[in-house]
Chain length 327, copies 2
C-alpha cells in the first residue's frame, strides 16, 4: 500500500485502506473452501485497492461518509479480481502481482468458475443497496470489460491497429470499471447528475491514464519493482500505445521489424532491447507519457464542480500520483 | 419445440415461444460481430426455452400477462447460455445440442469471454425492471451455478460421492436457475410471498426432476434423439444419481468395477454395455425415475395455492411432460 515515490498520498488514505481490507474479507466467502482459497489468491495479493478507494472517496465527495460506502467499495474490487482470473486464462499470463496466476496453480476450469463466482458476489452485493442504477451500472461495466478483452483478443498479433482501437480497448478493459467505481459512490450518495458525471469523468480519465502508464511501464520499469516480467506485452503480441506510435513513427524497415517481432512472440533479449530503443527514439514513450499527463489534468479539472475540500484535493493528488508510479 | 411424445403440451405455448424467440433476438446484441456469432451459436441451437416459458407463465399465474414479462424471460435463458459456454470449457464436452460446443469452434478464450458478456447482458436486463430483488435473485443464482460446477469438478472421478452431494450439485447447477426463472415472474408481478414461494418451489422440484431425467437419459436414450453422444457422463467420470445408486446397490466386485470404469474415462463399448446392464439390474434407473416422479408430483402440488386456471393446469402438464421426455 505504500510506495517509495509518493509515500504521502497513499498514506493519507491509510484508515480507508484498513476498512477496505476488512470489507473485502467480509463479503466474498463461499462455504466451499476451494473457492475461498482461489478467491484469496487473487483478492489478497498486493492489490492496490484503487477502485474501492475511489468508490469511498467519490461517495464522500458527494456528501456520504457512512460505513456502508465501504461495503459498496468491495464491488469493483471483486469485479476486478474476477476479470483478472478470466483474463489470465485468456492471455495465458505468466505472473500476476508477483505470483503465478490462479489458472497456473489450479487450472483453467477453477479460474473460470471462481471468476464467475466473484462476478456473482459483486453483483449480489451491488444489488443490496436498494438502487437499481448501481446494479445496472455494474452489469454494463462487466459487459464492456468482456468486450474489451474480446476486441484485444481479435487484434492480438495483427498488424492492423490504430490509436482509436487502443483507446477503445483500454476504455473497456480498465477505464470503464475505474469510472464505475467512482460513479457508484455518487449513486450511493444520490448525488445530483452534475456531480455523478464529474466523478465518472474523473474516473474515466484517471483509468485511461492508469492503463497508459501501465503499458509504458511494461517497457521501462524495473522487473523486481513491477512484480511481473518486463516485456510481457511484447511476448504476448499485445499492441499497446507505445507500439502503435512506434509503428507509425519509425521508418518502413524498423516498423516492419517491430511488427514481425510482435507477431512472432517469444522475443529474444536482443529483440527486446532493440524494441525498447525504438520506443524511445521514435518518441513513442514520451508521446504516451504526455497523453497520460493530459488525461490526469482532465481528471483533476473535472472535480472543479465540487467546492474545495480535503477529499477533492486528495483525489487530485491521487491522479497525479498515477503519473509517478513505478509499478 | 415439438416433441413426438407429447405434441399437445408444448404446442399450447406456441404463441409464447414465438414471442420468446423475438425477445431473445432483441436483447443480446453486441456491436462486435464476433460476440454475436458465438452468442447465436449457443442461444439459437435448439434450446428448449423452458426457463423463459416458466418466467412468463409464473408472471401470468401471479396476475401479470404483459409484454414486458417476455423481456424479463430472456434473462434466465441468457444466464443458461452463459453457463453452458463456461461449463463446456470446464467439462471439455464434445457435443452440445447436436453441434460442437463454442470452445471447440472458437477456442476457450472466446467461450469464456462471450459467457461473461452474456452474464452481463442477463444481469443488465434484469436490472431494468426497477426491482432490486430481481437483480439480487439473479446474482445469487449465478453464484450458486458456479459453486455447483465447482463441487462437481472437485468430485469428478472421485469414488466418494453420495446422494446428498448429487442433490446439492443438481440443485445448484440446474434447479436453482429453473426455480429463479419462476420466482422472477412472481417478483415482476409483485405477487404475495405465498405465491412467490409456490412458483419457486414448483421450479425447484421441476428443475431437480428435469436434471434427474437428463442423467437417466444419458444411459438410456437413443443417441440421434438426444443430440449428444450417449454415455458422455460416464466418459467424463460424472457421478450422477444412477451411478451413485448402482455403486451402493451392486455387490462389492461390480461396485469396484463400476468405479474403476468411471475413474479411467474413455469406457469401451463393452464397458458401456456392462454399466447400462448394471444400472438396470441394481434398480438404479428405476430408483432415479421414481425419484423424478415424486419431485414432479411435489411440483404440481405446490401450485395448489393458486385457484384453478388454464395456466396452472398447463404448468402441471409441463411438469408431467418432463417425465416423458426422450431428449
Amino acid at each position: 500500500m505504500t510506495d517509495k515515490q509518493a509515500p504521502g498520498i497513499l498514506d493519507s488514505f491509510s484508515s480507508d485502506f484498513k476498512r477496505i481490507e476488512e470489507v473485502l474479507e467480509q463479503h466474498f466467502a463461499s462455504h466451499i473452501p476451494f473457492v475461498n482459497e482461489i478467491s484469496r489468491h487473487i483478492l489478497f495479493a498486493n492489490g492496490k485497492r484503487i477502485r474501492p478507494l475511489l468508490t469511498v472517496c467519490s461517495a464522500r465527495l458527494c456528501g456520504v461518509d457512512a460505513d456502508y460506502a465501504y461495503d459498496l467499495s468491495a464491488v469493483p474490487e471483486y469485479l476486478h479480481a474476477a476479470s483478472l482470473l478470466h483474463d489470465d486464462v485468456v492471455d495465458a499470463g505468466e505472473m500476476r502481482r508477483g505470483v503465478p496466476p490462479a489458472y497456473k496453480v489450479w487450472g483453467n476450469s477453477a479460474a473460470v468458475l471462481v471468476g464467475d463466482y466473484l462476478y456473482a458476489k459483486a453483483i449480489g452485493l451491488a444489488s443490496q443497496f436498494g438502487n437499481v442504477k448501481i446494479a445496472e451500472e455494474i452489469a454494463n461495466t462487466v459487459g464492456l470489460m468482456a468486450e474489451g478483452e474480446i476486441i484485444q483478443l481479435l487484434h492480438a498479433k495483427r498488424p492492423s491497429f490504430d490509436e482509436k482501437t487502443y483507446s477503445d480497448i483500454i476504455y473497456r478493459k480498465t477505464a470503464a470499471l475505474i469510472s464505475t467505481s467512482c460513479r457508484i459512490g455518487a449513486l450511493l450518495a444520490q448525488a445530483p447528475q452534475e456531480q455523478e458525471e464529474a466523478v465518472s469523468t474523473y474516473g474515466l480519465n484517471l483509468g485511461n491514464a492508469f492503463q497508459l502508464i501501465d503499458d509504458v511501464l511494461d517497457y521501462t520499469a524495473d522487473e523486481s519493482e513491477l512484480g511481473k516480467a518486463i516485456g510481457t506485452d511484447l511476448a504476448e503480441g499485445k499492441l499497446t500505445l507505445p507500439i502503435v506510435i512506434a509503428v507509425k513513427e519509425a521508418d518502413e524497415k524498423d516498423s516492419k521489424r517491430l511488427l514481425s517481432i510482435m507477431g512472432a512472440g517469444h522475443p529474444s533479449d536482443e529483440d527486446m532491447k532493440w524494441v525498447k530503443n525504438l520506443l524511445t527514439s521514435t518518441g513513442a514513450i514520451e508521446y504516451s507519457r504526455n497523453k497520460a499527463r493530459d488525461l490526469v489534468q482532465a481528471a483533476c479539472d473535472s472535480l472543479d464542480v465540487f467546492e474545495p475540500s480535503e477529499t477533492r484535493e486528495l483525489l487530485k493528488a491521487l491522479a497525479l500520483f498515477v503519473l509517478e508510479r513505478r509499478k
